[in-house]
């Protein structure tokens, strides 16, 4: 009894020390990201901004995957819906209501996710759900490609970055850095919400469902309802990210609903670290780094990207986050386990 208490005690101390190191890193990364406009040219700034948006989008996907245990291959479709709602609204000149537009886009994503989830989650799971969502996203892409007023396959270009009017002041987001900081704020808010959801009672319920679905229903958890809720939240986050993305890229195309966009969060999550909240964020930036570093290696870029990915999976099983924590534990054995 007493020895187990001691074990517990030392365990907590170790977690604290290691998490302090991570916290320092986290703050440093946040400062660098916030200071990006002063540090780099507009090219890298654009990439980092896009990566932030994709990181939020992937965290939303991972909420569904690592918490609720459902793999969707069609999240690109929801991202695309958010982006098109935002694009259409901004092109129609509703830029002063941009925040409202984001809310509407988010709700649109949530509504579509609800409809899909309501029907699909009762009937399918696992890979079947994955392929079903993939097909729905493909269907959306085809529909957009055939919709002339949404620009067919060339999409909607010339999306103006908005000037958001609050009651007392106006926020001009037209310039690159201004919108970039808006993205930062958006990322902080969305990641905050996702963190809160993942670590609160809902997160605990969902994890219970993922660990043992039958046991979960025998402690009184409504499995279907909670999964549906996770599906809707994930869809809302994807659509919200899409809505913020549209004015950043200033163009939306049906390819947003394509397989590449839908598989991105999977890659990010696995690369960054499975079942970890920050995994997709780390993975997104790692992937961006690989992409950026290999941008001049035209022709062999695919081989190099594939090789790096393969290397990472074979060598770092726990993804970057998992391996990093393991590495820390090894470097500071004194603070690690007994």
């Amino acid at each position: 009894m007493s020895s187990s208490v001691a074990e517990r005690h030392s365990g907590r101390e170790q977690a604290l020390t290691l998490s302090q190191i991570n916290r320092v890193l986290f703050v440093a990364a946040a400062v660098i990201i916030a200071a990006m406009p002063y540090l780099t040219n507009s090219g890298l700034l654009y990439l980092v901004g896009t990566t932030l948006i994709l990181a939020v989008y992937s965290v939303g996907w991972n909420f569904l995957f690592s918490w609720a245990g459902l793999a969707s291959f069609g999240s690109g479709g929801l991202f695309c819906i958010g982006a098109y709602v935002s694009a259409v609204a901004l092109r129609a000149g509703w830029e002063q209501y941009f925040l409202l537009v984001i809310v509407v886009a988010t709700l649109a994503g949530a509504a579509v996710a609800f409809l899909v989830g309501f029907v699909a989650l009762r009937r399918t799971s696992g890979i079947f759900l994955a392929i079903l969502t993939l097909s729905l996203a493909e269907l959306l892409r085809h529909t957009l490609m055939h919709t002339r007023w949404l620009g067919s396959e060339d999409g909607l270009p010339n999306i103006t970055r908005p000037t958001v009017s609050f009651i007392f002041f106006e926020l001009n987001l037209k310039s690159g850095p201004a919108y970039y900081w808006f993205i930062c704020a958006f990322a902080v808010v969305m990641l905050g919400i996702c963190w809160w959801l993942s670590h609160g009672p809902l997160g605990r319920r969902l994890q219970a469902v993922r660990y043992d679905i039958e046991r979960a229903s025998f402690v009184g958890i409504d499995v279907h309802r909670n999964r549906l809720l996770a599906f809707v939240i994930s869809g809302a986050v994807a659509a919200c990210a899409g809505a913020v993305y549209a004015p950043w890229a200033q163009i939306v195309t049906p390819e947003l609903s394509g397989m590449i966009r839908s598989t991105q969060p999977i890659l990010f999550t696995l690369l960054g670290g499975l079942h970890s909240f920050w995994g997709p964020v780390v993975g997104a930036f790692a992937f961006m780094g690989i992409d950026y570093a290999t941008r001049t290696l035209i022709g062999i870029q695919e081989i190099i990207t594939g090789g790096i990915l393969l290397g990472v999976i074979l060598v770092f099983r726990g993804g970057i986050v998992g391996s990093w924590n393991a590495l820390l534990a090894r470097i500071f054995p004194g603070r690690g386990e007994q």
Binding site: I127, L270, G299, I300, R317
Partner: protein, 288 residues
Amino acid sequence: MLFTLINSLTLGMAVFLVAAGLTLIFGIMRILNFAHGAFFMLGAYLTSTMVQDMPGSVWILIGTALVAGVIVGLFGLAVQHFVLSKLDGIDEHFMLIATYAVMLMTVGGIKSVWGLEFHSVDPPPGLDLGVDIFGTFVPSFSLFIICAGGVVFLILDYVIHRSWAGKLAVAIARDNWTTNLMGVNGPLGTKIVVAASFALAGLAGGLLLPNQTLSPALGDTFLLMAFITIVIGGLGNIRGAFVAALIIAVIDGLNTYFLPSFPGVIIYVGMVACLLLWPNGILGESRL
């Protein structure tokens, strides 16, 4: 109408040829192999290198396709040995990303070896024109593809469900550990099935070569369709894949016939409907 059906059947069997290997590897390793399309393409490129512009006869086409299949199967063994076997026992999604990485590298390799230009290989003499069936003109290469699909299905079905080797493979897929206890070399069995799956991809690439255009995007054309096929049919279920390929053929035929202004779109609608009706695939999920 008969004509539309035969053509759609051609598409269905072509998709089945690609899907057969995909469903096989799913049956034994529970992975969706993203690299399958790339290896299909590799088979096609290898065959085209061997036969140049035109295979001398049907048998030369089949022979070279088999050789290409064997080579691709060896590549598959390498992938299994250096990548997949190393990921055994950890989260299955890592396999997914691994096959994605293998796909990237394979496509990159194909581009650097064969270049980007379009290539075309013609059907062998005798299969380049058409025949008359019940007053309907039917391209003979369509018949060739339909026959190839049927033969490959029959062989696979026999091997898996009737033969000793197939029963062994099923045993491995169901319970690798126990099979090992009983003195059967499970890892070797897995290797053989994985190699067979890749070899089927290569064979399909070779057989379909005269039907398609060689370009580094060839793999994508079939991969999604093959995914859909094996999901509709029931993952890992070779009979399911065959039935699903037939269903896809019918859906595509109806699409062409009744809704010509949206070619190729109804397959997705059909697939969504199928999944909602039969959530585990028409013939159910199966370990091989």
